[in-house]
């Protein structure tokens, strides 16, 4: 389905630029051109397509829908909705407060916050295009599970005491002007606006991710990965997760790196662990959440995810490799 991008890269790298296949430079540039065109094409397409449907899904609506439900319903709902709703990190704080204020339990709220950056439908489709649907679905399944488990863990540990005090005192107003977006033209405008906003926001991460992936692909030999990142090296998974913690990228931006690593034979569990860690644990997000979460909760939150991702990494390696 995507051969057109491979052929385009073939032409651009080998004919236009005159590089030779199977050389580090040739391979790198080919990877770069192929991924840049393919990923941005998909990005625009999917953000637009989903934008057409998503105009109805606002955090305010999500809050109304999730509030007051039993745990058995609200947990899956929170991760499910977290997966399909995008929101700018600056909305994390009001969203967090809003959820709690509506009586949604802390655990459920955290589930939403975990799932949201990690699973986004754009990343899933791009991931599928890059390395296949099996991997993409595994990623989603792992993300949803970690979201629920992480939230439950926080609830079980009764960490409400580590939420900043003022949060519990805020009373949220009612009656936000619901702007019903119903006409096709409005939906198209909205979808197009989403494309401009989201691509405008994440293009740099995708670009950097592709550049890194290209270098990995062309310049780092397979033997390096066989030596350090094979299934038998038990330190590989924790190291992958550790590397991902201080790094931040939009989930889509990690995909070229995932692609390059998998092509070099790095096992799928290790790769997914890295991807989840990069996307879900991020320094900017934590700094923002510091407004509502006390440091012990942020640390616990990170620790739980760390363990969970390592678990996912080992599990997938054990079962699939």
């Amino acid at each position: 389905m995507f051969e057109v991008f491979t052929r385009l890269a073939d032409w651009a790298a080998y004919s236009l630029l005159g590089l030779t296949p199977d050389t580090p430079m040739g391979e790198s540039v080919h990877f770069f051109i192929e991924d840049i065109t393919k990923i941005f094409f998909l990005l625009v397409l999917i953000v637009f397509a989903i934008g057409l449907f998503r105009s109805m899904l606002t955090p305010e609506r999500v809050r109304k829908v999730v509030a007051g439900r039993s745990r058995a319903v609200s947990y899956p709902m929170a991760v499910g909705l977290g997966a399909v709703t995008p929101f700018c990190s600056c909305s994390s704080v009001p969203l967090f407060i809003g959820f709690l204020e509506a009586g949604i339990p802390l655990g459920v709220t955290m589930s939403f916050l975990i799932a949201s950056p990690m699973i986004n439908e754009v990343a899933v489709v791009v991931l599928a295009a890059a390395v296949g649907w099996k991997v993409a679905l595994l990623y989603v399944a792992a993300g949803l599970t970690v979201g629920i488990v992480g939230g439950l863990a926080i609830e079980f540990l009764k960490l409400e005491k580590w939420v900043e005090g003022y949060v519990w005192k805020i009373r949220m107003g009612e009656g936000v002007a619901e702007e019903p977006v119903t006409s096709m033209k409005q939906r198209i405008d909205y979808a197009w606006g989403q494309v401009k906003e989201i691509v405008g926001r994440i293009w740099i991460y995708v670009f950097v991710g592709i550049a890194i992936g290209a270098v990995l692909h062309g310049f780092i030999p397979q033997e390096f990965f066989v030596k350090y990142a094979s299934v038998d090296n038990l330190l590989a998974v924790p190291t992958a997760v550790l590397i991902g913690i201080p790094l931040y990228s939009n989930a889509t931006g990690v995909i070229p790196i995932v692609e390059a690593l998998m092509a070099k034979g790095v096992p799928i569990g290790t790769v997914l662990a890295l991807m989840m860690s990069v996307a879900a644990i991020s320094l900017p997000e934590m700094i923002i959440l510091r407004k509502v979460l006390k440091p012990p909760l942020i640390a616990t939150f990170t620790g739980i995810l760390f363990v969970a991702f390592i678990g996912v990494g080992y599990l997938f390696n054990a079962v699939l490799v």
Binding site: T58, P59, E60, R63, F87, C88, S89, C90, S91, V93, P94, L95, I97, G98, E101, Y166, K169, I170, R171, M172, G173, E174, G175, V176, A177, E179, D189, G193, E197, K291
Partner: protein, 78 residues
């Protein structure tokens, strides 16, 4: 004179929204007052969870994204 409140805790989109309203008002030759509300309690008080939000006459007229220039012009001319 129209009094706009832009709700947002300081991220770029909120600043962009405030600037957009100011620019459009200038272009239309209408005098407006723009207040930036960054206090979380106040923002939540308006029922806004996804910033930036825009409030006129204590009513929330927009939330969740940077409004388009056309929409802003509509507010200013109304």
């Amino acid at each position: 004179m129209k009094h706009f409140k832009v709700l947002g805790s300081g991220c770029k989109k909120c600043a962009t929204t405030a600037d957009l309203i100011a620019d459009q008002a200038k272009a239309l030759g209408v005098e407006v007052e723009i207040e930036k509300v960054t206090d979380m309690g106040a923002i939540m008080g308006y029922g806004v969870m996804s910033t930036p939000g825009v409030v006129v006459d204590e009513k929330v007229i927009h939330a969740g994204s940077v409004p388009t220039a056309t929409v802003v012009q509509g507010w200013i001319s109304a």
